[in-house]
């Protein structure tokens, strides 16, 4: 399968372990900006779906709105990587009524995707069905994009039902790049400022819809966000302990709308960061 990798040369990672070597090798191949044969490796399996779509492939994660044959990557924020958390054998939070976080996040993702596409964004999902990619595989999908943000969707076990909270990763140690490589384990470090801005904007939109939600984004040490080299947030909706699953289903359209509006409001800030060189 031929891949156009022109969109995917921005991030390079200093890997630790064989998985990271694979990613490093893939990124080096991208840097050459020449079509290359895919390799049967975990790294290759997470190559940017937008690129696959460009090469005429219609993979399960192909995103909307990509222009076939286009070689010039569009500038600014254009792609949203949506991550329905958990899946497969990992059901995530479970309510007494049999509600499973992994199912709800997938259903929420479908609605968030539609709302984002209406705002003109390409959407890439880290999973489409009931599978469970690793944290690194999910991050790799975002890290291979250019001009993307990452949004992980969760349903909580706790919290006031009918509220939603946005999280950004807690402070990470300062990162020293080596020969332009970003350490994979701290990929989020240089994006924390932008992640907070995105988080506050999305949280503000959610709080308008769901009274009792916080005014600003919270911080937490979230494994999924740490290895993501893009502005990244987690949205956690409360909760799986509702008596009726319909209570959660009714929240989905408003959550989707708030996220799409928040990302749209963030777009100019992202463009400013790109032009000022604040982005790595």
């Amino acid at each position: 399968m031929l891949l156009d990798v022109g969109n995917s040369r921005r991030f390079r990672f200093l890997g630790l372990g064989e998985g990271l070597l694979v990613v490093g090798a893939a990124v080096m191949a991208f840097a050459l900006e020449t079509p290359s044969q895919t390799q049967q490796t975990p790294g290759a399996s997470t190559l940017p779906p937008a690129s696959a779509a460009t090469a005429g492939q219609s993979g399960p994660q192909a995103s909307a709105g990509s222009a076939p044959g286009s070689q010039t990557p569009p500038s600014g924020l254009n792609i949203v990587v949506l991550d329905p958390a958990h899946g497969g054998t990992d059901s995530g939070a479970r309510g007494t009524g049999g509600i499973q976080e992994s199912e709800i996040t997938l259903e929420f993702a479908a609605q968030v995707r539609r709302a984002l596409e209406q705002q003109g964004f390409q959407v890439v999902q880290t999973r489409q069905g009931n599978d469970n990619p690793s944290f690194d595989d999910r991050s790799a999908i975002a890290n291979a994009q250019r001009g993307a943000v990452f949004i992980s969707l969760h349903i909580a076990s706790t919290g006031i039902p009918g509220t939603a909270r946005v999280y950004v990763n807690s402070d990470l140690p300062p990162v020293k790049t080596t020969n332009g490589f970003i350490p994979w384990d701290l990929a989020q470090a240089r994006f924390l400022g932008l992640s907070r801005k995105l988080g506050d904007l999305v949280q503000g939109m959610l709080t308008r819809q769901f009274k009792g939600s916080p005014d600003t984004a919270q911080t937490a040490t979230i494994r999924q966000l740490r290895t993501t080299a893009a502005p990244a947030i987690a949205v956690e909706v409360s909760s799986v302990v509702v008596n009726n699953r319909a209570d959660l289903d009714h929240m989905a359209p408003a959550v989707a709308d708030a996220i799409a509006r928040g990302v749209a409001a963030f777009k100019p800030l992202y463009a400013m960061a790109t032009t000022s060189g604040a982005l790595p």
């Binding site: 630790l16 958390a85 958990h86 990992d90 995530g92 939070a93 479970r94 976080e101 944290f135 969760h154 349903i155 909580a156 076990s157 706790t158 919290g159 006031i160 909270r165 999280y167 807690s170 402070d171 990470l172 140690p173 300062p174 020293k176 384990d185 701290l186 916080p214 911080t219 937490a220 040490t221 979230i222 494994r223 999924q224 740490r226 987690a234 956690e236 409360s238 909760s239």
Partner: protein, 240 residues
Amino acid sequence: MEPATEPARGRWKFWLTTLLVFAVIGAAIVAPILRKRMTRAARLQQQSEEQARRELIQPVPMNPSDPRVKAELFWLSDEDSSMLAPVAVELPLSSDPVLRSKQVLNTLLAGPVDVGLRTLPPDAVLLSFYVLPDGTGIADFSEALATSIPSGIQSEQLAVDSMTHTLEANVPQLKRLKILIHGQEVETLAGHVDLTGTFAVNAGAGQSPANPATTPAAKTGALVVPPLTVTLGTVKLTQR
């Protein structure tokens, strides 16, 4: 000879049948009792390694001769369950940082008076606690900490924060906290919060380490990802 053997044979048949009937009745009575005993023995054999360790581990005794101090324990706030609030509890605490850490963490695990405000699952056990020379406290919990805690970003972060806040308030010698589950490093607590690094404790008090990668993050509860060598060293240490 023939007439004499017929009644004898009939008598033997009678006794044999009677014996068999008694044997069947006896087996019917004894079998369930035996089955019960076997099930009980099997259950004892199946007792997990963790349960066995749990029995071996003696609870950290509170020495009454230790000075009673007002310890600050962090459980959920009764006004806002998305936050933690300190509760002053008078405890006889040891001056030794390892014993003191065990005492406050065990009190934290025991939970507050209002069980709805607890941050850690009631069946979780602190299996061991030790302190490295650099001030990193290693807390090794039973699997119940990961399996019984409500899965979620908020609930997991509050659990970790309740530990770091409590240690910070009561054990000034600690600089960082590393959480292990049954002696092993795990990727997350219950699918969300990252346990691969250490959490800052007393972040403002310590000297800045030589290696910038181990600099504690500004806020308590923030993860500090150690360099790989340190991580491996920690794992090796816990496997002893």
